[in-house]
């Protein structure tokens, strides 16, 4: 599989990873970018996270707020999952597990 296909595949899973991360705790953009990269293995480009967050917020799956009292001393925009977001996450996890199971069976025995 070439690099372009790898990118498309990972981008398709980015929403799942972001919702999963935000369902655990409230986070800001840079923190989220690091978590999905290190914990979930999904390496998003520097700026890719913000259009995704923007879209998830428009879909009411997450909400955001600016916080002024932050460790860095600068305001940060924090995101958290909504009830609708948690329901969407549950659906996406079930879809992912179903696809992975079917694909794993199909790929058995292949290198």
């Amino acid at each position: 599989m070439n690099n372009k296909n790898d990118t498309q595949l990972l981008k398709g899973l980015a929403e799942l990873a972001i919702l999963a991360a935000l369902s655990k705790r409230t986070q800001y953009g840079l923190e989220l970018l690091s978590e999905v990269s290190v914990q979930a293995g999904i390496h998003l480009g520097e700026g890719s996270i913000y259009p995704l967050l923007h879209r998830l917020q428009k879909d009411k799956l997450i909400v955001s707020e600016w916080r002024l009292n932050t460790p860095s001393g600068r305001p940060r925009k924090y995101y958290k999952c909504t009830k609708l977001g948690r329901a969407a996450l549950s659906e996406k996890i079930n879809s992912w597990r179903s696809i992975r199971k079917t694909l794993d069976e199909y790929l058995k025995g292949l290198r």
């Binding site: 953009g29 840079l30 480009g45 520097e46 700026g47 913000y50 259009p51 923007h54 879209r55 428009k58 002024l68 860095s72 001393g73 600068r74 305001p75 940060r76 925009k77």
Partner: protein, 184 residues
């Protein structure tokens, strides 16, 4: 709280980005720029080079497109106006096969309706030579240089037919675009 001083490259990037986001509401535009400003500042504090950070975003105009596309989509669904629905559908066609199919279908429908309208207008200027022609060897809509050698099937029915075609195109376009975008 003191305002951060960003490198000139970052200031220039953010200025171009805000300009590229002109179509967005001012609050959204300022919010996006502020968030990116904080991101860039924190990455610099973390030791990253400004050129490496900005290359991760790419061109500000192209980066802005991802926000504008979502904004167009939201406006299209909120207003449900054909003038907003069609551009939003065409934009989604690049990444969604259902939207692509809908765009092709609507394109064919409008091409047919406009072709009929062009012929109807031409008929006003040359009623004897313009119409839906049928003979032993021909069947077409358009100009015939020898009207006596073929039968013209529509007559002035072409005008109400054109009106019906255009109205149908408007109604079906709106319905198909809404159906496709709501299921994105």
């Amino acid at each position: 709280m003191t305002k951060a001083i960003l490198p000139s490259e970052a200031v220039k990037f953010l200025r171009r980005l805000k300009w590229a986001l002109t179509d967005l509401p001012r609050d959204d535009r300022d919010d996006i720029a502020s968030e990116l400003s904080v991101h860039i500042e924190e990455r610099i504090k973390g030791g990253a080079e400004i050129n490496d950070i900005l290359s991760g975003f790419g061109s500000p105009e192209i980066y802005a497109r991802s926000f504008i596309i979502e904004h167009e989509y939201s406006i299209a669904l909120a207003t449900r106006r054909l003038a907003n629905l069609m551009p939003a559908l065409a934009t989604q066609a690049a990444k969604n096969v259902n939207a692509l199919a809908a765009t092709v279908l609507l394109g064919a429908m409008w091409l047919g309706a406009f072709s009929l309208a062009v012929v109807a207008i031409a008929k006003l200027f040359s009623p004897a030579h313009i119409g839906l022609w049928r003979s032993e060897t021909e069947f077409y809509l358009g100009f015939h240089d020898d009207p006596l050698s073929a039968s013209e099937l529509l007559g002035f029915w072409i005008f109400p037919l054109t009106l019906c075609a255009l109205l149908s195109a408007v109604i079906l376009s709106r319905w198909i675009a809404l159906y496709t975008l709501e299921r994105k």
